[in-house]
């Protein structure tokens, strides 16, 4: 009886204040991040700039990234083509701008799918333990004992060059890594007092996993995701460089480097720009991930 009264007596402003409190805390966290993690904040800005470039690529790019201009092949950087043209007369700057879409697409798709699958597998493994855990973990061990790039190369080469195949290959590499982290967190959380408490009031396994498991492992997953982004983008470029990733004529940065490697002496600028773009984007993700780790888990730094 008193419980019902308490609920009904709770003024509406208090409830909305609770929501505002979340928002306020988030704002404060952001401020604290900007203040304490300056390098991380700059990296976040760089990432956002690249995302913006990818979205408005048609506005920024002066030329079509695929149309060829045989009259102006291997042209050095000039006012017309600020990063020169490649062996088929395509504008390098325009290709670079559109190429950011491929890197980000592969990165986002791989990381999102891997987090989803890895979290599911890791939670099942960590929550149930025993024989289920044993079988899942040995399969994950087996996948992780093959060097990542070699496994990706194996799968991508078998499936043939296509963006979705690159994503499949990279997901297979990343899933065990997320699963292992989530499993570890799950084992830790399973033993904690609050899970014990919710079990004692009769909460089911599914409810415990969703309500207590997930929110408590967001920090390590977010950090891992940021670092996985960088690795995934490099892996996509490596596969495309070897000719088994993104198929031509798509402007993938790895593919551009592969074309450029044939003209290293006559057109060295072709080697320079795609690699620079790749390095800066990956560096931004790595520095951002590093800053997030320091921010979310001060014990680790």
């Amino acid at each position: 009886m008193s419980q019902v009264q308490l609920d009904s007596e709770l003024p509406k402003e208090r409830i909305s204040a609770g929501k505002n409190l979340h928002l306020k805390k988030f704002k404060e966290d952001c401020k604290r991040f900007i203040y304490t993690q300056k390098i991380g904040f700059v990296s976040l800005l760089i990432i956002l700039i690249v995302v913006a470039v990818a979205i408005i690529a048609p506005i920024i790019a002066p030329f079509d990234p695929i149309s060829q201009d045989r009259a102006a092949f291997l042209a050095a950087p000039s006012a017309d083509h600020i990063m020169g043209t490649d062996d088929l007369g395509r504008d390098v700057f325009s290709r670079l701008v559109y190429g950011s879409r491929i890197s980000l697409l592969v990165g986002i798709a791989t990381v999102v799918i891997s987090i989803f699958l890895g979290t599911m597998i890791g939670m099942i493994s960590g929550y149930f333990g025993g024989i289920v855990d044993m079988i899942i973990q040995r399969i994950m061990d087996a996948i992780m004992s093959i060097p990542a790039l070699i496994l990706a190369l194996f799968i991508a080469a078998l499936l043939g060059p296509a963006i979705q195949n690159v994503i499949i290959a990279l997901v297979i590499i990343e899933v065990p890594r997320f699963a292992r982290i989530v499993r570890g967190e799950m084992l830790r959380i399973r033993e904690s007092n609050y899970v014990e408490a919710s079990r004692s009031v009769g909460a089911g396994s599914f409810r415990i996993i969703l309500k207590h498991g997930l929110p408590n492992m967001m920090a390590p997953i977010i950090v891992m995701a940021s670092l996985a982004f960088g690795q995934t983008i490099i892996a996509e470029a490596s596969l495309s460089f070897l000719g088994i990733g993104t198929p031509p004529p798509n402007p993938s940065w790895g593919l551009m480097l592969s074309d450029a490697s044939r003209y290293m002496e006559s057109a060295p600028w072709l080697v320079l720009f795609p690699g620079l773009a790749l390095s800066i984007l990956v560096l931004a993700f790595n520095l951002f991930g590093d800053a997030l780790r320091d921010f979310l888990d001060p014990k680790m730094s």
């Binding site: 040995r138 061990d141 093959i146 060097p147 080469a157 690699g275 390095s279 790595n286």
Partner: protein, 315 residues
């Protein structure tokens, strides 16, 4: 200790077994097979293709092929290449030294670069130098190693008019040519590897520097150089060794791209060439060798712990 090693080896063989099954099934589940590739332009009849399949043992079920290959592999027979007909074990033994040499040279170079920078970062903790070195080392981690390879080749050929000698020669044949060919790919791999060594050395040295025994060492009036190099660095080696064990996977993966840029006939380029033409026995065996190397290095690393740090040995 012996019991521990034996247990780990059994566990390793179990993992390798699952891995081989995994690779085996994927390779045959994917469309496109070696028979179609080999007879693509010869206008061979369906019977001829069937006959070739029987000859290669590909007419059996996937499980049957796996059992066949597995029983032979345990007896040391990895089969023959479906294209050249050479013994797979022979091909792998020819190529293995290239990859191992590349990996070892990279690790040595990475240690030479990484440890001093890590120590400097730790000693200058939270100063401008520390932040600068942090960005540099994460930068090293972010540069794709194949791009580094291309840049080095471009700069050397344009500025010095020098490119590594073509045609691979082993160290035994011609040490000077061999080192000229191996140095560039090794340094590309080493730069990425050294970045993580820097981070690890820094945090390990910092941890030791804040421990009580270092306070004692300082209290007895030891010089700062001795404090850092004799005590702090030595006690942080365990974490650096662990890291190298963890990075072996990256290292072996990196060899694929670099071997292809620098035209080195190693295991990485072997698996790349073979998977494209669906040479099943070579791909399976090479993946097995890569997996075995990875597990073996990690076992050696775990055994080395005890050797480096007597406290772990006691447990």
């Amino acid at each position: 200790m012996i019991e521990y090693i034996v247990r780990r080896l059994i566990f390793g063989i179990f993992v390798l077994f699952i891995m081989t099954t995994f690779i085996f099934i994927i390779m045959r589940a994917v469309p496109g097979d070696v028979v179609t590739l080999q007879l693509a332009n010869s206008g061979a009849s369906a019977e001829q293709m069937e006959a070739l399949k029987v000859e290669m043992g590909l007419d059996k079920s996937v499980l049957g092929q796996l059992v066949d290959w597995g029983t032979n592999a345990i007896q040391g027979d990895l089969g023959k290449s479906l294209w050249s007909g050479h013994q797979v074990s022979q091909i792998i033994l020819e190529r293995l030294p290239v990859t191992i040499q590349l990996a070892i040279m990279s690790i040595i170079l990475a240690i030479i670069i990484g440890i001093p920078i890590g120590v400097i970062s730790a000693v200058k903790q939270n100063t401008f130098i520390d932040h600068f070195l942090k960005v540099i080392s994460i930068g090293g981690l972010s540069i794709p190693n194949f791009w580094l390879g291309l840049i080095l080749l471009t700069v050397l050929s344009l500025a010095l008019n020098w490119i590594p000698p073509l045609g691979y020669q082993s160290f035994a044949e011609n040490p000077i040519v061999n080192l000229q060919q191996m140095f560039l790919p090794a340094i590309c791999l080493a730069i990425t590897l050294s970045a993580s060594i820097v981070r690890m050395t820094r945090s390990a040295v910092l941890e030791v520097l804040h421990s009580e025994f270092i306070r004692t060492v300082r209290a007895k009036g030891a010089k700062e150089g001795i404090v850092i190099f004799k005590h702090a660095l030595r006690n942080s080696l365990v974490s650096v060794i662990t890291l190298i064990g963890l990075q072996v996977g990256y290292l072996l993966g990196g060899t694929v791209v670099l071997e292809s840029i620098f035209a080195l006939p190693g295991l990485g380029s072997l698996i790349f060439e073979s998977v494209l033409v669906r040479d099943y026995p070579i791909v399976q065996s090479t993946v097995l060798v890569f997996g075995a190397m990875f597990l073996l290095v990690n076992l050696i690393v775990d055994v080395m712990y005890g050797w480096v740090d007597p406290r772990i040995r006691a447990k």
